[in-house]
Amino acid sequence: MLEVKELQRVDHDVLIIGAGGAGLRAAIECGMAGLSTGVICKSLLGKAHTVMAEGGMAAAMGNADARDNWKIHFRDTMRGGKFLNDWRMAEHHAKEAPARVHELEDWGAVFDRTKEGLISQRNFGGHRYPRLAHVGDRTGLELIRTLQDRAVHQPNLKVHMECTVLDLIKDGDRIAGAVCYWRQTGRFVLFTAKAVILATGGGGKSWSITSNSWECTGDGYALAYEAGAELVDMEFTQFHPTGMVWPPSVKGTLVTEGVRGEGGILLNKDGDRFMFKYVPEKFAKETADTVEEAQRWLDGDKNARRPPELLTRDVVARSINAEVKAGRGSPHGGVFLDIAARRSPEYIKKKLPSMYHQFKELAELDITKDPMEVGPTCHYFMGGVKVDPDSQMSRVPGLFAAGEVSGGMHGANRLGGNSLSDLIVFGKLAGDGAVAYCKATATPKLDEEQVLTSVRRATAILNRETGENPYLIHEDLQKSMQDNVGIIRTKVELETALTDLEALGARAAKVKAHGTSQYNAGWHEAIDLRAMLIVSEAVTRGALLREESRGGHTRDDFAGERDEWVKVNVVSRKGADGKMEMESVVRPPGPPELVAIANATLEELEGKQNG
């Protein structure tokens, strides 16, 4: 009979789950405030999915174009998010991003420079001005390495690597800690904490074509859901327009939007620059309508409007999807992305070095000579844990969320470059929120039964005599989500997905892992299935409920944005009967001063006087 006192126990004030940009930034904040801070991560430190971010982090510093300021960044973010964003979060983000970027420089980050020696900023989809601080096309690596190096020298902060959470533990309503296992040994460990910050990233691994790594199984959404928090607007899944499509082994791997930011164009098999056909009315006034004007923009004419390739990701992904469906796709079911005809080989290698190597080594293609083949890939969750926009705390006392796992900031569609800035802005705010909470909170009590239940559920997977291969259940889940909950959705397909999910849930309950618990990939995969199933159900049920098309959620049977749906958030939570409960919750009205900014013309907001 297992007893809790036999388990390894680690006590912290704050436990941060996830060591990507948001988790590390939150941890540094908690450590600086003097709290005993623990960070756990499934991989080695520095390998989190943040490392894959390529293009840059958006912050209205105005280094490349002095007309930029936080209000225009805020306006771009709201418009890109189709006005479903949490107003206050979008305000925090636009206002605080520049200070967070400058702070990274003090911590060792080395961004590309302007001629004046300032941080260089590049163009990206949906951003009016060049706004993305970047390092070639490896900005995520720079961010994570900078935060990692800071974290290992931060007093009060300990990183626990290759450790996975099974369940959060509560004392009554509030958070008390987490039950985890060490991947290397398979041994269980109990972390106690007054506050837990979820920084677990997204859940793209429920789809078969995804830019996400194995870690992105949506653990944070599931942990929050099981602990009684609410998830908001989970139906908004971003399909990045440009993933690799060939060869099969790299299908879905990200091709940075920076290619288009640096002038890359999209072509169908007939050589047509098709994006000119797909400019939404709302963006027509601010988008070039001729190839000639788009060329002037690339040549640096500040009066020329932006090319349509730099429309928001939801628009570009749907357009590519439409071209392929109409039979105008490339040989392997994508479209062509051409930078070779636009920039010199030297420029491409300087600004997009990892894209150059990625295609050269994985696809045997030289992007300085030939166009790439690209197509949409499941990339990012706009939805997530519903949090207070100031403290980042969920409705469960002591449970915070920051980064991709948190919802609200990006509304129905995230702008490229707004994720890395989100991580550092909201990582810090969640840290601040947890510090304030811990100061006002006594140490919670430990409920041993919750710990034992969690451990027993995990060991049952190893102990049962027979059962199904977890990898095959995962593959079937991915296939169903890819086929039924993709870029374009219908009621019939979504209902098919729900039926599939129920059957997959029954199979997952009887999954079997062979071998011992030491670094057992099959056991890890089996444990991760629960989170993937919860995430998939929340996305599917949300998509079924939201009868409109907005941003990252497109219903073939409900075309266009519907006014009644911008007024509500779709919320999912665990009901008293253990089943998922869905509700459309009316949003509070936006603060008038922010609504005015979002609806202003660019001319009204431009220039330093508005900074």
């Binding site: 989190a48 690597m161 790594s213 790299v250």
Partner: protein, 249 residues
């Protein structure tokens, strides 16, 4: 498509052996794809680290036919069709299980090194640095910490002097700190005395295996060695110090 033969090391700290697997091929496969196929269909519990699968995170380091490689960037068709592909864990670090090694020693080295100590910001709150002044350290900051250079370094791999040398990965980390335009700290004494710059004998094996093509030896280690020499062994400076009484640390 045809099947190919793979030999994968299976075992733990107490020992193990190579196990043969036949794997179904499809176009463009990399070694990590083959490992995943084995995991899915033949050995669910096979231990392997990986994350990005695009050469950006440095998790999937192993030795393929005896050469340190990122398995996600090593194409199967780089090897002759009839050739058996042998995959084994990094030799320089202790085995945890199968292809996974204990690389925690590397993290300890990072923690020992004094971090950036930046000069104050300018009056407008910014730092000004010219691109040409940061080009050389941006090269070092491309490092994905795959530790292939550490794996192949003779001082660590053959001489097992982890007690005396931090290895090429951390020499480039030190180089980027020492050459950082904003930095005000002095790590030269530690580079000589604690981090063991003198132990590297410049065989350039680390540079050869770097998947990021960083000029580890020529651009980082040799310049650091030169800085140590200038500080401690320059005869003119030795005389100067003898006259002025200024001692080298």
């Amino acid at each position: 498509m045809a099947e190919r033969n793979f030999r994968v090391w299976r075992g733990d700290a107490d020992g193990g052996e190579f196990v043969n697997y036949k794997v179904e091929m499809e176009p463009g496969m990399v070694v990590l794809d083959a490992i995943h196929r084995i995991q899915t269909h033949q050995a669910n519990d096979l231990a392997v680290r990986w994350n990005c699968k695009a050469g950006k995170c440095g998790s999937c380091s192993c030795e393929v036919n005896g050469k340190p490689k990122l398995s996600c960037m090593t194409r199967v068709n780089d090897y002759a069709p009839e050739e058996t592909i042998t995959v084994q864990p990094l030799k320089t670090f202790p085995i945890v299980k199968d292809l996974v090694t204990d690389v925690s020693w590397n993290y300890e080295q990072k923690a020992k090194i004094q971090p950036l100590q930046p000069r104050p910001r300018e009056a407008d709150g910014t730092h000004r640095m010219q691109q040409e002044d940061v080009d050389r350290i941006q090269e070092f900051r491309k490092c994905i910490e795959c530790f292939l250079c550490q794996d192949v370094c003779h001082v660590l791999r053959n001489q097992d002097r982890k007690d005396a040398f931090v290895g090429p990965r951390f020499m480039i980390h030190l180089a980027q700190l020492e050459m950082h335009p904003l930095d005000t700290a002095d790590r030269i004494p530690a580079i000589k005395n604690e981090y063991g710059s003198g132990l590297c004998n410049i065989t350039r094996c680390c540079t050869d295996v770097c998947p990021e093509h960083i000029g580890i030896t020529d651009n980082a280690i040799i310049p650091l060695k030169e800085r140590v020499v200038d500080r401690y062994y320059d005869p003119v400076m030795m005389i100067w110090r003898a006259i002025t009484g200024a001692g080298a640390k």
